[in-house]
């Protein structure tokens, strides 16, 4: 029909789709899934870092970390708002997270075990996230694209802070340097897996590419990330835990070793190191906060009633 044609030509022409525009149901569903998954990732992602605020080793680092975790919560808020423009409520989205129906980025199912993890999360996790997200700034859905522009700016700030933290450790005492290497050893492969399964295996890729939601393939993004990161690790004097990693002059890219996809699927399927803990933490916070949300509602109703009576 005409509506479908208008949509298709907007996509073709690179024009943004806005909330009031007609859109195919599958497009809408795909966006809700992806945006809410991203929002949930920001919220769950507050936990591993939040875990270190009270133990940050200097007040300056504590302030940086607090501000960063706060930014992540802020990203969660923009993204929930963007999802809401597609006709789902925050309650529904949160419910989907807590019931385990909705996913969030698997990377946050790994524990933050030391201070250097704060560096690795900024440098690598946020770095990988930016690689994934920069193309989304040109995504066909307007509210999502605009949210991503703002988020990417803040993420690249976090990425630089993370790298700077790693640099301070690597220039510090031997124990600090060892901390940095130990954290890199734990985070490297999970981060490399953040780009998702190989293009050949990826379920959603083809259609989302066509719709202008996704713009670059998983493997291409992964390669781009590795190419950018290897020299940074060298600058730090850290060793990336991949014995197969080496420059391929012919391809103009780094070759890397085989990825343990069984580990990837194990974590995605719920058996990663912290899946249970993260979900239970969100459930508990939500349950403990129920009386707070009810009080706010009850008070708002009382005020509204009083305002009506006064009128």
């Amino acid at each position: 029909p005409a509506r479908q044609q208008a949509f298709d030509s907007a996509i073709e022409a690179g024009r943004k789709i806005e909330p009031q525009d007609w859109m195919p149901e599958a497009y809408r569903r795909t966006l809700v899934r992806q945006i809410s998954q991203h929002a949930h990732s920001e919220v769950v992602g507050m936990l591993p870092e939040g875990n270190w605020i009270t133990r940050a080793p200097s007040l300056r680092r504590k302030a940086i970390l607090l501000a960063k975790v706060q930014d992540e919560g802020g990203h969660g808020l923009y993204l929930y708002s963007a999802a809401e423009t597609l006709g789902v409520s925050r309650d529904e989205l949160v419910e989907a997270l807590l019931s385990g129906k909705a996913k969030y980025s698997s990377i946050f199912n790994y524990p933050a075990l030391g201070w250097a993890d704060m560096g690795c999360i900024g440098w690598l996790v946020d770095g990988a996230a930016i690689m994934n997200q920069i193309p989304l700034c040109r995504c066909s859905y307007g509210p999502y694209a605009r949210a991503m522009i703002r988020i990417c700016k803040e993420e690249s700030f976090h990425q630089r802070q993370g790298y700077e933290l790693m640099l301070a450790l690597c220039r510090g005492t031997a124990a600090q340097k060892a901390m940095a290497q130990e954290a890199l050893d734990r985070w490297w492969w999970p981060v490399v897996m953040m780009f998702g399964p190989s293009d050949a295996e990826s379920v959603h890729s083809a259609q989302t590419m066509k719709w202008g939601i996704k713009r670059i393939s998983n493997d291409d993004l992964r390669q781009k990330f590795i190419d950018a990161t290897v020299p940074q690790a060298e600058l730090l004097g850290l060793e990336i835990p991949d014995p197969h990693l080496k420059w391929n002059a012919e391809r103009g890219h780094y070759d890397h070793g085989p990825i343990d996809w069984s580990e990837f699927w194990r974590v995605v399927d719920g058996d990663g190191p912290c899946n249970r803990e993260r979900l239970e933490t969100r459930r508990r916070a939500h349950a403990n906060g129920a009386w707070v949300r009810e009080a706010a509602l009850a008070h708002a109703r009382k005020r509204a009633r009083r305002a009506r009576q006064a009128a």
């Binding site: 080793p57 706060q70 916070a285 403990n288 009386w291 009810e294």
Partner: protein, 262 residues
């Protein structure tokens, strides 16, 4: 003029309270009742941390030697900390150490009490004879206004919300109020700081603070608690049992690597 050593001690007394309260607020991060509140508390925690840092830096400049904000925060023990006892109480409320669910009413009412006090404090300290302190106070005053607004809004929602939230808010108010006595009980250091123009007459803060708090309680339909003879002594370094746990956690990493720069 107040001797330098006691000038520094007075500044530490001002600094330790926001640091410790900031720590308690940051414990909510990721565990708040609704995402907006996670952000609000992180924001307030960040303001308080900022106040503490400015005060420590000012104190360190005055003290000289190897004094620094991080030495103050990470390498003093319980008896050297000078925060008010109320602020070290865990988010779960008034009980002996032992893990327990955090209580948002306790956090909110404590923030309301503390920020109403801080408002009065910073307003007066913005006229301190110590120009550095006066500048910090002027900045902190603006923050305290926002903190009080946030905490007041929620106190009213709780008091005038559901029966359950009213009961929680009243319980928080009743259990916290005795811990505020310390804020208004001047000791020799308070007197000396006030007399020298550095500090404030801390007993004089009680009147305006009470006016604010009673008005808030009334709007929130809460009963203001009766006076009690309880007097905590954190600002003299005699703390309750909770601060030891808080510092053990806060200082664990820094103390494991005393030679490190971060």
């Amino acid at each position: 003029m107040i001797p330098r050593e006691r000038h520094v001690e007075y500044l530490l007394r001002l600094a330790d309270s926001p640091l410790v309260l900031s720590h308690r607020l940051s414990e909510w991060c990721g565990h708040g009742p609704v995402l907006e509140e996670d952000l609000a508390l992180a924001n307030i925690a960040l303001d308080l941390l900022g106040q503490a840092r400015l005060l420590y830096q000012h104190a360190a400049a005055l003290a000289g030697g190897d004094a620094s904000e991080d030495r103050y925060a990470y390498f003093r023990g319980v008896p050297e900390f000078r925060n008010f006892t109320m602020l070290e109480l865990p988010n779960s409320g008034v009980a002996s150490a032992g893990a327990a669910d955090p209580d948002y009413a306790f956090t909110i009412v404590r923030n309301a009490m503390y920020s109403a006090w801080a408002l009065e404090l910073w307003e007066r300290l913005s006229r301190s004879a110590d120009a550095g302190l006066a500048a910090i106070a002027a900045k902190s005053l603006k923050e305290a206004r926002y903190h009080l607004e946030h905490a007041s809004d929620w106190t009213i929602r709780f008091g005038d919300g559901t029966d359950a939230s009213h009961a929680r808010a009243q319980r928080a108010l009743d259990s916290l109020a005795p811990y505020a006595n310390e804020w208004f009980a001047a000791d020799a250091l308070d007197d000396e700081a006030a007399a020298s123009g550095l500090g404030v007459d801390c007993a004089a803060l009680r009147g305006p603070w009470l006016v604010r708090m009673r008005a808030l309680a009334e709007e929130a339909t809460l009963r203001w608690p009766e006076d009690s003879a309880f007097l905590s002594t954190g600002k003299r370094g005699l703390h309750g049992e909770h601060l030891g746990y808080l510092l053990a956690e806060m200082q664990s990493l820094a103390r494991a690597h005393p030679e490190a720069t971060w």
